[in-house]
Every structure is written in C-alpha cells, then in structure tokens.
Symmetry: C2
Subunit: 506 residues, 2 copies
Amino acid sequence: MASVTELYTELVQELQKTATLASVSAVLGWDEQTYMPHGGAEHRANQLGMLAGMVHERATAPRVGELLEQLATSNLMSDPDSPEPANIREARRDYTRATKLPRRLVEELSRVTTLGQHAWIDARKESNFAHFQPWLEKIVKLKREEAETVGYGKGVPYDALLDEFEPGSTAAEITSLFTPLRDALVPLIAKIRDSGKVAPVEILERSYPIESQKSFSKYASQKIGFNFNEGRLDETAHPFCSGFGPGDCRLTTRYNFHHFPGAFFGTLHESGHGIYEQGLPKEAFGTALGSATSLGIHESQSRLWENFVGRGRAFWKHFYPTAQAMFPEALGSTKFDDFYWAINDVRPSLIRVEADEATYNLHIMLRFELEQPLVAGDLQPADVPAVWNETFTRYFGITPPNDAQGCLQDIHWSFGGIGYFPTYTLGNMFAAQFYEAAERDLGDLGGQLAAGEYLPLKEWLNKKIHVHGKRYRAQRLAEMVTGEPLSHKPLVKHLQTKYAELYGIG
Amino acid sequence: MASVTELYTELVQELQKTATLASVSAVLGWDEQTYMPHGGAEHRANQLGMLAGMVHERATAPRVGELLEQLATSNLMSDPDSPEPANIREARRDYTRATKLPRRLVEELSRVTTLGQHAWIDARKESNFAHFQPWLEKIVKLKREEAETVGYGKGVPYDALLDEFEPGSTAAEITSLFTPLRDALVPLIAKIRDSGKVAPVEILERSYPIESQKSFSKYASQKIGFNFNEGRLDETAHPFCSGFGPGDCRLTTRYNFHHFPGAFFGTLHESGHGIYEQGLPKEAFGTALGSATSLGIHESQSRLWENFVGRGRAFWKHFYPTAQAMFPEALGSTKFDDFYWAINDVRPSLIRVEADEATYNLHIMLRFELEQPLVAGDLQPADVPAVWNETFTRYFGITPPNDAQGCLQDIHWSFGGIGYFPTYTLGNMFAAQFYEAAERDLGDLGGQLAAGEYLPLKEWLNKKIHVHGKRYRAQRLAEMVTGEPLSHKPLVKHLQTKYAELYGIG
C-alpha cells in the first residue's frame, strides 16, 4: 500500500499538472486581449473551450477524489496550521465544488454567460435593458441552481456564490461590515459636497503624451517593486493582471492623451495585483499555498498601492518632480497641492470604475443590496433598472439618466459574477487595515515613501501576506497580520483624515 | 454498426481536436520568442512539455488506429483524388509513424535534443566543437534508431529522416536533382568571381532608422498580400512564421540599423510562408487538406516572394521611390541600378543564412553531402569539422577560420533536424519552376509587379498550390501546376539570366 507521503506527493503532482494546464489558458486569454489579430477569435474560442474541458476533467478526476478522501483522514491533518492540511483542505473544497456541479449545469452556464456577455455589450451600447433582461433572468436562475447544488449550510443561497470569490465569507458577515462603513461614508460625502470646494480636476485633462505616460507608468511600477524580469506591462481595452505561473505575470493598462489618472493609477493598481502574484511562493504553484487567499485580499494589494500609497502626499513628494519633468506642458507650472487635490477629487458620479476612493464603496454597496434579493428571488430582473435608480438616488443624490450609465455599466452579471462585487470593498477595508499595521511595523512609512523607498513596504507585504498563499482564510490572515479582526474603522479613519485636510471639514 | 460516414466524421473531429491542442503550443512558442519575460522560461517549458505529451497521447490513441483501419478498406478510398482518401492516407501515415516510435525513444530524443541545443549554443559561442561532439553523437545514434524503427523500404536510413520533412522524397531523388544543379552553379559562381565586378553593398549598410524599416517592411508584406486582419508582424532574435490555425498567423523579423536587407527580405520571406498558411483551406484545419504539402513547398512560397519577386527589377520599379522617400539619408541620391545590384550581390561567404541566391544552394549541398554518411555511419561526428572544412574549400574556394563559422553555425542538428536542410534547396527549385509557370499563366507578370499589382500572382498561388494542402505529394503537385516534373533547369536559368546581366557574363 502507498504511504501517506506517496499519496500526498501524487496529489500535489496532480494539482500542479491541472494548474499548469489552466495557466496555458491564461496565456491564451492574455494574447487574445493584447496581440491576437481580429481574425483569430473563432479559433481562439475553440482552443479555450477545449482547454476548459480538459481542466475540468482533470479537476474532477475520480483519482483525485480518492487521494483526497484518504488524505483527509490521515495523520497529515494532525497539525492544521502546517502546509499539508491547508493544501488538502483547499483541494477538497475545490474538488467538492467542481464535482457537485453537474456537467449540464456547467455547460449551460458557460453557454449562457458567453452569449449573455455579447447581449450585455449590445444592451449597454444601446442603453437597452430589455435586450439584456432575458439573459439576466437565465443567469440568475442558473446561479440560483448553482447555489442550491453547492449548498450554503444554515446561510442563504447568496453565500454559496460569494464563497466562490471570497472563501468562507457570508452575506451576513459582509452586511455587518458594510453597514457601519456606509453609515460613516454617507455623512462624510455629504460634508465634502456641502464644503462647496471643488478639486481642480482640469489639471488631469491636459496634454499627457502617450509615450511619456508609458515610460512614467512603467517606471513607477518598477519602483514600487513589480519585477519586470518576471513580468510585462502591455495595453488593452480593459486593464487586468494575469499571473501565468512562477516567473511570469502580465499587467495591462490603457492610455488616454487627455486623462492622466487612468493609465497611471491603473498601472499602480495592476502592479499591486502583480506584486502579490510575484510574491506567492513559486515552489507551491498549483497548491493552496501558492494561490491567492481570496479576491478581497487580492484587491487589498491593488488598492493599497493605488490609493494608500499612490494617492498619498508622501508618494508624490518623490514622484511629482519627475512627473513635472515628463509632462512639462501639463504640470510644469502646476502647484503640488493642486495636483494632489486633483488626484483626490471626491464627488458623486455615475460610473463605478471612475469613482473616487470614498464614493467607490457606495457603488459596491448598491450592487450588494441588489444582488441579494435577486438571488433570493425577491427582486425580479425586470425590476432591476427601477430599483437601481431608486437606490442610486438615495445613495448619491443623483439619478442615472439611462441604464447604460446605470444598471448596465458592469460586465460582471453577464459573465455570472454574482457575489463578486463585495470583494472590491472588502479589498479597500483590508487595504486600510494592512496599511495601518504597516505604518506601525515599519516606523516612518510616510518618510520612506517620500524618499522613494518602497522596498520595506513591499517586503512587509511579501512576508506578512503573500508568502502564506491560501494557508489561512482571509479574515484570519488579516487578524494575524494586524492583530485585529477586519473592521470598517481603518478605512473610515483614512478617508476622514485625508478629506478633512483637503476639504477643510471637521 | 457505425456507417463509414460516421467513422470518417469521428476521425476528422479527432484530428481537429489534436490539431487544436497542438496549435495551443504554437501560441506558447510564439509568446516565448516575442514577449515572454526572461523569468517565465522554466514554467513555459513545463507548459510545453505537458502539452507535447497530451498531443502525442491523442495522436497515438488506439481509437484513431481503429478508425483508420476501418476507413482504409472502406469505399471512401475508391477515388484516390477525392478529399477523404487524402485525409485518411496522411492521417494513417502520421499515426503509423507516431505509434511505431516507442515512448522511450521519443522521450530520449526530446531530452537529448533539448540539452543538445543548450550545448550547441555554448559550443558555437566558444567555437568549441568538442563541447557539442558528444551530443551530436547521441543525436545521430538516436536518429539512426528512429530511421530503423520507422523503416525506409528499399532505400537508405536517411530516407526515413528526410521523409519527416519532405514526405515521399528520397536521398537518391534529391541527389539526382542536386547534382546537375551543382554542376551548373559552380561554374556560374566562378564566372561571377572572375568577372572582377563587385556589387556596391556599402549602400545597404548605411543608416536605416528602425521605425522606418518597421513601416516599410509591414507595408510591403501587406502589399504582396499578407492579411494583417488574420496575422501580425513582431520582432524576434530568430525570424519565423507560425500559423496558429484558421485566421491567425504570426510573422517575425529582426531589425538592424546598419543592414537594410535583413529585416526587409526577411519579412518578405516570412510573408511568403504566411501567405501560404493563410491560403490553406480554413474548413480543413487539422486534416491533410488543411496542412502544408511539405517543407520544400513551404519554402518555395517564401523564396518565391523573397527572391523571385522581392529581389527582382520589376518589384523595385514600384517600391524604390517609396524606399528612397522612407530612407532619404541612405537612398535619396542612390541610383536604382546600384541599389538593385547591391541587393543581388553574389560572393562566396561562410554563413548560410547570409548567403546570396546563388551560393546559398551550395551551402545546402555541403550539408546534404555530410548528413548522409553521418546517418549511414560512414562519417563519425568527431570527423565532421575536418570534412566540413575540406568540402567547404572545395565548394567555395575559402576555408572557415573556425567551427563557429563552419560546422557549428546551424541549430538544426542540435534539435534533431537531420534531413531538414535539403528542403531549402528543394524550395528554391520549386519556386523557380512555379514562378516560370506563373509567368506563362499570368501574361505580363513583370509588368504587373512593376505596377505594384501583386494580387494576380498571390491568387494564382492560392488557386494552384495553397488550396490543395497536402492532397498531393510535393513533386506531383509541382508537375500538376507547371506541367513538368521538378527540375534544376528553371532555377539555373533564372540565376544565369539575372547574373549575366548584372555581372556581364555570358
């Protein structure tokens, strides 16, 4: 009979092979967005479809199930905090989820979300919700079936969907985190609006030559610690970060001649994701210990570099002279304080991805507020536009003029990503709490950033967060790193302090 | 029982799936050469290794063997020139070859050639044949074993290797084609040398700004008919063309500020390969009818556009004014005739890939002359440098000063490509014969090219050659297209005519 060690070795090899095959799809997906000629789309879909089937087959192979069953009751599980139990636990979780879903449901979801995305693109273009509605109905129905099949213990169906993106999290827990955050944000945003002060955002809409934006973005990415020997930065319509595996992580951004923040903060954001991917232990590739903890933790890394570092005074102490030199026409005679205020403009806006650090979270809460009754069956897809606009008006005091700028603005529902949105605000909360802990641990973090020294922070993140992969659940990891359970307070404090100074509010 | 049509449909689906999976490796290989960061090499090797194993498994699946066996004796084979028999015939050929080779030999060849390539790189760098010799010994031994395993009928072991690249061809046949070609080339080259005339090649070493080279190369590629809606042109250390499948074909080239011909003729060359790939019938992807006839036919397409079109007077009638405008410093006041002569300079040189249209074929013949006794065991790897230099001196009247510029210059043997070289000169011969036929069929081809009209020639190639894929063997295809069996005569005539004019020889 095979020893437990042999069984474990076999399991790890199987997981690594499956991850290697899945990483092939990542390469093809990246190429599709970056360099693939238009005519290659159909063949690419065939390649990706075939790979998806093969990955699914490997991930649900009976032999993997046997290995997991034997290992789950073996003496390897005795110390739950050692690597093996974490890898076995997460592999079981993935295997159970994958095998519970019948092939029919997986294929139906794949088909409906592929077509649904096309329908969504057209619907948004024409601002015609009716065109997307039948697809949303199908998708919600299938996701509800998925939730029932996967199960959700004593919780609600929404938990089962959330769990895919934020393992172990529940709607109840998120509500308890979001409610006090909203209760603090709504008055803060009202105060900013009532201050009558308006940031000089025109500064950011001047002429920013694309080639200089490219150099400057790449330079900043490199400076904060993204390793270009093991990565790249390219251009796509929709920015993303894709970790292919050990030693290869690709970032993308997009450039707009008359909009500085898009490419620059987009690159910092994706670099944060990339630094996380590059910080995962290479030798653990394919297992839980070599994988990201959750989408919330992933987003905390991008937001930390984009907002807590990149939109901070200290960061620009170091970077602003270079920015002025690189964009002399736009910034040569612009005062530091004006620039700093412009990149920290707060105002209610219609589009989530263009929202500022403060109002952004209200966009998320609105979606969270709609998704739950949608999955529970208490909100019909047909009623989404009306409820969206009503909720939006309540939150922001403005009403979307059409559905393209309202409930049709995001791609997520069309690809089946219901339960995905909350991870964005979780990411902001994790980021704030991590940043506070880093300030405590690193001494004069502001001074380091102002001096252009990013290595201490990067290595702190590496050591405290990245190296653990999925060894601990997100909330436990946060508590280990910061000494406190996840809370809205650090994020609220960060925003209150920052905007008190900028908008002169108390 | 399944009908013959059902069996055939199943076979085609299997072949298409295998080809789709193989095309995934092509994407990864392209990315490795173009954009992959240095640090991604190890993971990429793991991805490619895994895919190679999976492709091999599919290609040798017992079910494919069963299908082929049943189909080979079915009524589908009654008309040998209809598509089905060609597809079945070639699939059987591939299947037989793949299943004959034991897994041990395949893996050993893969391992030894991977390491052999690294050894070759170092050996060439240090011009140290001794460093490569043990690997060449292993590779020759394994290739000999491969030849014995695959079999070669009444021929010689070399035939079995050649057959991989040029199906149906034999050493005897190639000898009968090469011998008269050599007998014509040697005196022609001697006459050129004795003419005392030397082309003004300095013209091509002036300043050619890279950005202008990029535009000009892409422009020419587009003009001659490479479809950029279904392809790209990128930059790599070693230029190549890779057809990923229907609608996606990638070309690469390399730029040198002080060397015009490299990127420009390299791009025309790869565009010729690309136009062929784009001309294969899309719906036949994965089957013989959707695949290139042979390496010789593939090379004929690249050589035809590079040399017969691109190094011709007519082509530059149209392109030279644009070239002068794009490179005013280098060509603004250079006479057409001087430029034309410079791009058609003939002189003995050490390096195959830099050789001119005439001497190039002698480089190939030398390799063919060495490979045969090497495989037969009549030439020991240890003796290769001496025999190379002796043969080279006999052919060219100059002796390589070292092995880096002698027998170590090419990568082919290190990757196991013994029997590959002859296809280059076959390509030149096919190209000459095709071009002659095109001149007959198209009327004033020279006039068309001089007017910048490339579509008639491109469409002639599409219709006469590309559309057939692997339906006919190369030599039969050539005879169908040109009305004559393949011969050295059109190539000799082309070179004699061209150089008689340039060098004033009779």
